[in-house]
């Protein structure tokens, strides 16, 4: 009870809970699940873009994409480390990913079919991720908050590069412009779904907000994203694929249509276009790498033995 009171005080004070601090088990479990899901999203998110590293149409874009995918691997590393401060093991988290016991962001279950998709991912998906994550850099769990600071900085760089790449397409040939519009058409709604279900269908949100893990509701963040992104689409001369989209002059916010929450539910449940492919690819990489990890462990053990002998 004393520990609970200390925890409550830190959270109420907007302070930081650190790994050695006492914390409620439910808080710890929620954080593990959320940080792991976040880490998995970075790792799985490498696939749709990694898919284009070898096909990027200019060397400058290739280098930027290369670096972005590398950053995502790096983010995965920070985030798994942050999760490990909560007493779990990266290998176990990866097993949970491979066995479907833990999730990753639904957005990565949509295919990156064209170069424009890759740019749209930078613009929209990283844009949405930043909306979600900037508040997390003030979250109540210290290691997660600190990881978020670095992740957000890099992702905001990625988002700008994605937008810049979309700009090149939108200002390009007719085929490039069509490719850009097509990417927006396919990635717009899935991007809105990245903020999660509507507030009235998000039962755990209130508790996460009380714990200082979540700072804004799903619908608040979604509104921010729309407000920030629609003018960017207009700047690009692209059409947001939502006939209900309209600027409410009074509030200054955009009103917009309802995402297809049935589709969202299907993708969360595993039936998106690429769920099976993403997990199978990840498992294959993990299995293909097993002999390497075993060798590294055997070698380290042998050298350690030699040093102590």
């Amino acid at each position: 009870a004393e520990q609970q009171a200390a925890f409550d005080a830190v959270v109420a004070d907007d302070g930081r809970v650190e790994p050695r601090d006492a914390m409620p088990e439910a808080y710890r479990r929620t954080l593990v699940r959320q940080i792991a899901q976040h880490a998995h999203s970075e790792i799985i998110g490498m696939q749709p873009e990694g898919n284009w590293v070898t096909r990027a149409p200019s060397l400058r874009r290739k280098a930027i994409l290369y670096a972005k995918v590398q950053d995502e691997a790096g983010h995965g590393l920070y985030l798994y480390s942050a999760a490990e401060t909560l007493g779990v093991d990266r290998a176990d988290l990866l097993d949970a990913l491979h066995e479907g016991r833990q999730k990753y962001s639904t957005i990565f279950n949509y295919p990156a079919l064209t170069w424009a998709d890759t740019m749209a991912i930078g613009w929209l998906v990283d844009g949405a991720a930043i909306m979600n994550q900037v508040p997390l850099s003030r979250c109540s769990y210290g290691p997660y908050a600190r990881a978020m600071v670095r992740v957000c900085k890099e992702e905001s760089f990625h988002q700008r590069q994605g937008f810049e790449g979309m700009t090149a397409l939108a200002r390009g040939t007719a085929a490039q412009k069509a490719m850009a519009q097509d990417a927006l058409d396919r990635f717009w709604w899935p991007s809105l779904m990245m903020f999660g279900p509507p507030d009235d269908a998000s039962p755990n949100s209130a508790r996460s907000m009380a714990w200082g893990i979540k700072r804004f509701s799903n619908d608040e963040l979604r509104q921010r994203f729309v407000d920030a992104t629609v003018p960017q689409a207009e700047f690009l001369g692209l059409t947001v694929p939502d006939p209900d989209l309209v600027l409410d002059e009074e509030t200054g916010h955009y009103r917009f249509g309802t995402p297809d929450w049935d589709e969202f539910a299907r993708v969360v449940a595993g039936d998106g276009p690429c769920n099976r492919q993403r997990v199978a690819f990840r498992r294959q990489a993990h299995e293909d790498g097993a002999w390497v990890r075993e060798a590294a462990a055997a070698h380290a053990a042998r050298r350690a033995g030699a040093r102590t002998a």
Partner: protein, 249 residues
Amino acid sequence: GPDVAAYTLRLADDALVLAQRLGEWAARGPTIEEDVALLNTGLDLLGQARTLLARVGELDGTGRTEDELAFLRDERDFVNAQVMELPVGDFGQTVARQLLVSAYQVPLFAALTASTDPTLAAVAAKAVKEVRYHLDHAASWVVRLGDGTEESARRVQAGLDAVWPYAAELFETDDVLARCVAAGVAPDPAPLRERWDSTVDAVLADARLRRPTTTWAPTGGRRGVHTEHLGYLLAEMQHVARSHPGATW
């Protein structure tokens, strides 16, 4: 002049083609740390390729951009050494190839810092630090795999055996190179080969791996004669760019 352009293009294509191969590892590494490391190596090589290609376009008088050189040349115009284009194979073959290539690039770029060509000297000054890291990283893996488990020793030896014959081409000379050496543009390959031998031998000894004894030394890359693997690599690399002639990205 044309010799410096031709020599620079060789270095550029070496870096570009190997960077392309390393890009195939994206999201497929045995650990996340290796995802970072493999992409890091590829990104360094890609950076070298870009500076060198841009310089080729100036030197050869065609004014071609880095992208025109990368995306609009045909297979027979690429002058990378064949070792760069070999398939990635498994992780053992990837690090074995990287060891052989980086062990060549470290003394090469160290020497090129003194090149009479200012671009080559500048690229080398930056690259020498990068390739030293690549060499350390590849060597550490070759040792871990060679002196790891029975399976890892078998695999890395098989990978080494597969790529080894192609290393000889890195030290070949021809008229272009001879003139570049004479002009102080490029280093003489003979001492590079000695450095390479001692570096590689030390790693193989530490890894308990067998130095392959084959005398087969395939060649042709510097004349644009490649293995059948390069065509597929270029198809993948160039397809989008070729599909949109004149587009800016």
